[in-house]
Amino acid sequence: MSHINNLEYEGTPIWKRVSQKALRQRAWEPCRWQEQLRNGEPLTDLLIIDGHAHLGEYAGFLIDHPDAEGMVEVMDWIGMRAAILSSNPAIKSNQRYGNQITLDAVRQHPGRLFGYVVANPYYAEEMEEELRRYLAEPGIIGIKLHPELHDDYPLNGPRYEPMWEIATELGVPVLFHTYFGGDSLEAIVNIARKYPMVPLLVGHQLQDKSMEAMAEMANALDNIYIDLTVPEIYGSLEFFVEAVDDIGRIIFGTDFPWGNCHFRVGAVIYARISEEQKRRILGENAARLFGISLD
């Protein structure tokens, strides 16, 4: 039985697999990086890759110094090695202008900033050319969809067909936003089945729907990844580490500069999981999924 109508979930029910009581009783064991955080220092011996970032100003609220330099400066405060971003203009307004800003930032900071090209369903006629052009650029390594800011246009709508075909052809990961409306759990499962060669990063760990459904989906479908962008929910790290068969499916993200990136790194570092699990979640999983080499 599953939380999702069209998903046959054979495993142990998540609520039985993850014990509230056992997590509550788990020991508070400090890890090696806490002292550095406590002293306000960057984490220099840990690979941190932000798999869900943005860039640039936003009409609705203050984002102070959100240009490429401002982003990299803030990354340095916490010791973040790389961020994969889509610019705010690309998701919120003019995707031609916005995707160019993303590319400019990636070119200015190779190896620190990587990019998602945003597909705007309302410009479907130019989508194929735009996606191919950007995805041919070094450092543009994924596609970003934002249903909430595109009037809940459905992921399986015909205007996205060119995007899904290109993502399949090139095998690039697709990150999509989920909360405040958006597609149903069933629709996400259908997309994952229809495009099995496309790694799907399910935005914001399905925080508004169900983290248990998120775990079921990741366990049942090989191309589903958890975009861990709300690790500040108490216990969510501990939950996913217990609930998911393969923690390689958990990709760290901060959504910065929609907010700060530091506190979300802090949520992982102070979580009651092992150092090895922190290492994988904070950077190694993303490096593997996106083929990023930072040596």
Partner: protein, 256 residues
């Protein structure tokens, strides 16, 4: 020198919707504070929020007995229905039990009372007489904003009452910065203040004196608010004010 932290926003008790691994008792809260190297914390009780304030406050006092590093925070509301004593009696009772900070949950999602002067006026007036720090929890959803005019009016009407806005994410800085400059008795608990470079921007444009460290545990994960402060990139003296100094100051100004 390592920062000392004094947390204005923690809770104990059993929540209707528990988070995975969330603690319930004072002992467990202290273990979490030890882990974070946090010195002290202000605590309210889940049942004062979700069940009934007087019941929860009583449970809080019983649970915190023998835990001097945990400061009780009562959840209160106006007295007109007879559920709460009249303000002077209530506050005297609180102070006699060494309770020096309170939490209000106005509005439909909380305890359904108005913050207009004709309703909460006598209560706030008594709190102001004793300068008792008063947290206002509007139970914000992620992108909600408070009633700015009401906050302005309350701050102006009770200039000696420290009012602490809690649970707010900080997106409406264009309004909030202006409000705080006008209302030096208005504070923000930073437990959900996640604005990009937000602490730095606030300190540069308003001042560190109106920010107070709060973790929101066990609703919010440990280390979140702490890292917000440690990596805020403000001056050390500003970090000290936010981490513990401002809260110590307003608690030190409570009049018996």
């Amino acid at each position: 020198m390592m920062l000392t932290f004094f947390d204005i926003n923690t809770s104990i008790g059993v929540w209707k919707h528990p988070n995975y691994g969330g603690f319930e008792t004072a002992d467990e809260l202290e273990a979490a504070l030890d882990y974070l190297q946090v010195e002290r914390a202000v605590v309210y009780h889940a049942q004062a929020h979700e069940t009934h304030a007087p019941t929860g406050n009583q449970m809080l006092m019983e649970e915190l007995s023998g835990h001097p590093r945990l400061l009780p925070s009562w959840v209160i509301f106006p007295h007109y229905t007879g559920e709460m004593p009249e303000p002077k009696t209530l506050i005297r009772d609180m102070l006699d039990q060494d309770v020096k900070i309170v939490r209000l949950l106005p509005g439909i999602a909380g305890h359904r009372f108005s913050l207009e002067p004709w309703c909460v006026g006598p209560l706030l007036e008594t709190l102001a007489d004793h300068r008792i720090p008063t947290l206002i929890d509007f139970m914000f959803f992620r992108r909600d904003d408070p009633d700015w005019r009401l906050l302005y009016d309350l701050s102006q009407r009770y200039p000696h009452l420290p009012l602490i806005l809690t649970g707010w994410a900080g997106l409406a800085s264009r309004t909030f910065f202006a409000l705080c400059k006008e209302c030096p008795n208005l504070y923000l608990d930073i437990s959900r203040y996640h604005l990009f470079r937000g602490i730095l921007a606030f300190c540069q444009r308003v001042g560190a004196e109106q920010l107070i460290y709060g973790s929101g545990m066990p609703r919010i994960a440990p280390g979140v608010a702490l890292t917000t402060v440690t990596h805020s990139h403000v001056r050390e003296e500003e970090k000290h004010l936010i981490a513990h100094g401002n809260l110590e100051r307003i608690l030190g100004e409570v009049l018996q």
